[in-house]
């Protein structure tokens, strides 16, 4: 496996020299969820979840800043449930990392007890924890890194060896810029990212292993099984359709969005307390306890409504506000119709993209915390026209177990019983392309392309004697280019002065096995065989902060003077 160079050398404790040990280190699988996290590793015969000193396999994802040294949910235990909600702890970092302050997901985070400040100009949001009546600033990367340091220490203690290589699960909807932020946090924690796996694809790998077992048992046909994997946690909802046989799972399509239990919770809190926003805006100290009480009570109600049809809420919010209400399941579902509709859209879109009919699905797999919600289960059953869902997995452990399997496979570990004779063939969750023909997004590698991949497209100039052009790279599937994620930009100069439409500008995108994206651009004059200038080769993303305003600034400064247009294909 080619080891990937860090993008941030300064933050990294690790160097290539340390990799010289003859025994391959088995990478651990890490699932950092919006609200919970877990770590697993291949122990030589099976995947084992690691426990912290309090014997927990599943820990809360938060970092508290109340002490001199920040501590996370791995090592410490809050003395009281409300402590995490006092403003001194940062949580939901997965919803913040790599997002700019114009992002609606960041805005939805502003009602949390810690400080999320937005200026709405396309820079990273300012976040801070409340420590002794002062806001102490931090960044999502720093919070994640502190958390990862604890996870690493825990794993090293349990495994009695240094831990460096990790396979991390990520939401499908994460852009490459967000992935680079995750990698940076890992580098800060001294960890080397072997793979970043979209959560449902980790589940697909676990499923592939389980299917191989059943095939071995009954010497089955080995025929291909199509499955739908739906994963919904606190922060994100992901869907995958994959074809599995013989330990190989080919990802056919992926879809995902930043919707999850946190949205269900916030919608319900606003429903229970219509004055929610006016009471809790401004982070006044006197209401932080009320907010915590409401959040805990609402969370509890949602959990209870998974097993019972109505729940008695009776909570004293302080400041003379007391909330008593009998909440039934129907009401909870009605309040969150939009969220459930979005889930449905994601599933239908994924099936559509995979070109798979529901009748062809062998198994429907639901994982993640929200997969226990009856409405979610009914929804998926009705879309897939099934009565039964796949039952072979623990919905809270599936993703981390899959990540641990990938960790073992990618570390080159083999198993005499064939338990690691596995492979996931990944696909791109988002299209990648450039801005051309005015303000249009022209995809070069389309969504759901099998990786590794290399695709190219030819562009040409729009002005006579145009000698320069801007290559602005975006990732996403929105027709409005501004809604896609900016990955980077560079200028191509040295185009020979010729009438418009004559120079051929070949833009090639390459994603290698480590999921590294390179953009290669060359200029050719028809009739010549050699490119006229050295080829530009740029590893993306190049932007080192979520500069949402960059594209705007480029547009303002250069307008269409350096525009390109696609070469029309003639039939």
């Amino acid at each position: 496996m080619s080891q990937q160079a860090y993008t941030v050398a300064s933050d990294s404790e690790t160097t290539g020299g340390e990799k010289s040990s003859s025994f391959p280190e088995i990478a651990i699988g890490v699932d950092i969820g919006t609200s919970q996290c877990s770590v697993a590793v291949w122990n030589g015969s099976e995947v084992e979840l690691l426990k912290n000193i309090r014997n927990q396999k599943i820990m809360q994802s938060y970092v508290s800043f109340k002490d001199e040294v920040p501590t996370g949910g791995v090592s410490s235990e809050p003395t009281h449930e409300h402590e995490i909600l006092s403003g001194s702890a940062i949580f939901n970092m997965k919803r913040l990392i790599g997002r700019v302050d114009t992002d609606p997901v960041v805005h939805a985070t502003k009602s949390l007890p810690f400080l999320v400040q937005t200026l709405d100009i396309g820079v990273r949001p300012f976040i801070a924890a409340l420590v002794s009546n002062a806001w102490r600033s931090t960044t999502p990367e720093e919070v994640l890194a502190i958390f990862l340091v604890e996870l690493r220490a825990m794993a090293e203690f349990q495994l009695r060896r240094p831990v460096q290589n990790v396979v991390l699960t990520i939401p499908v909807s994460f852009s490459r810029f967000q992935l680079s932020r995750i990698e940076r946090a890992c580098a800060m924690a001294g960890l080397h990212v072997l793979r970043l796996m979209p959560e449902p694809t980790a589940v697909a790998l676990l499923y592939a292993q389980q299917q191989q077992h059943t095939v071995h048992e009954n010497m089955g046909s080995g025929s291909e099984k199509m499955s739908l994997i739906f994963n919904m946690g606190a922060g994100y909802c992901d869907v995958a359709v994959c074809a599995t046989a013989g330990g190989v799972s080919q990802i056919k399509a992926l879809s995902g969005a930043a919707i999850g239990g946190e949205d269900l919770l916030q919608n319900l809190m606003r429903h229970l307390l219509p004055e929610y926003d006016s009471i809790f805006s401004g982070h006044r100290l006197d209401v932080s306890k009320s907010m915590a009480a409401l959040r805990v009570a609402t969370q509890n109600a949602i959990h209870m409504l998974s097993s019972q049809t109505s729940f008695d809420i009776d909570v004293d919010l302080g400041n003379g506000i007391r909330l008593t209400k009998i909440l039934d399941r129907k009401e909870f579902e009605d309040v969150n119709t939009i969220v459930f509709d979005q889930c449905e859209d994601l599933v239908r879109q994924c099936l559509n993209d995979a070109k798979v009919e529901v009748d062809d699905l062998s198994d429907i797999i639901l994982v993640g915390g929200c997969s226990l919600i009856p409405r979610v289960r009914d929804l998926i059953k009705s879309i897939c026209k099934r009565e039964k869902l796949y039952e072979g997995m623990n919905p809270l452990e599936a993703a981390v177990r899959g990540a641990a399997l990938e960790g073992a496979v990618a570390s080159g570990i083999s198993d005499p019983f064939g338990n690691l004779d596995l492979l996931t063939i990944q696909a791109t969750p988002l299209s990648i392309g450039i801005q051309a023909s005015g303000n249009n997004f022209i995809p070069i590698i389309t969504k759901n392309t099998t990786v590794p991949a290399r695709k190219d497209l030819v562009f040409t100039t729009v002005h006579d004697n145009q000698t320069e052009s801007l290559i602005v790279v975006y990732e996403g599937d929105e027709t409005n280019i501004q809604k896609n994620h900016l990955l980077g930009y560079f200028k191509l100069s040295g185009i020979p002065p010729l009438p418009k439409g004559v120079p051929e500008i070949n833009v090639c995108m390459d994603i290698d096995a480590s999921n590294v994206l390179r953009v290669l651009v060359g200029i050719v004059i028809p009739g010549n065989q050699q490119p006229v200038t050295p080829i530009m080769e740029v590893r993306m993303p190049t932007i080192d902060d979520g500069h949402g305003w960059c594209a705007e600034a480029l547009n303002r400064t250069y307008g269409s003077t350096m525009d390109l247009i696609t070469v029309q294909k003639k039939a």
Binding site: Q250, V409, D512, G522
Partner: protein
């Protein structure tokens, strides 16, 4: 005057390299410099292979040549496949042959051979080139956007 530019990733990467270099090369497709093996040869199957045989062949080759899986077969195959080029070729062959319409068109192109009959040759040839991961050959004169 057919002209194309494509980028090739080479050379095969030694395992201990931290970052393999993507080197761009310019190739002219006229005349074809590298006549690729037929898609059936890529998947190591017979022309008459059934769709199940195609899928099985694809999966077993993926296990040998996918960059993630090369560790599984490190004893049997060399590390030269770790840059993913072989796998991309295998996947492209699979994409064409697993789609009945694309396969029929491809079979037709094999039957006629390349360069017989300009009328059919170009259209089928385009499909052919595309399916092995090359940009269709084009005449630049007709590609101007007037």
């Amino acid at each position: 005057m057919m002209q194309t530019l494509s980028f090739a990733c080479n050379p095969p990467t030694p395992l201990n390299h931290h970052q393999f270099r993507c080197r761009a090369a310019v190739q002219s497709l006229s005349p074809p410099t590298r006549n690729p093996a037929s898609l059936y040869e890529v998947l190591r199957i017979k022309r008459s292979a059934s769709s199940i045989e195609i899928k099985t062949a694809y999966r077993s080759l993926a296990k040998l040549y996918h960059p993630d899986a090369t560790s599984l077969s490190s004893s049997s195959s060399s590390s030269s496949s770790s840059d993913g080029r072989n796998f991309m070729e295998i996947h492209n062959a699979y994409e064409t042959l697993s789609d009945p319409a694309a396969r029929a068109l491809y079979d037709l192109s094999l039957g006629f051979g390349i360069g017989i009959g300009i009328g059919i040759g170009i259209e089928v040839g385009d499909q052919f080139c595309y399916s092995v991961g090359r940009r269709p050959t084009r005449r630049w004169e007709t590609d101007q956007c007037w």
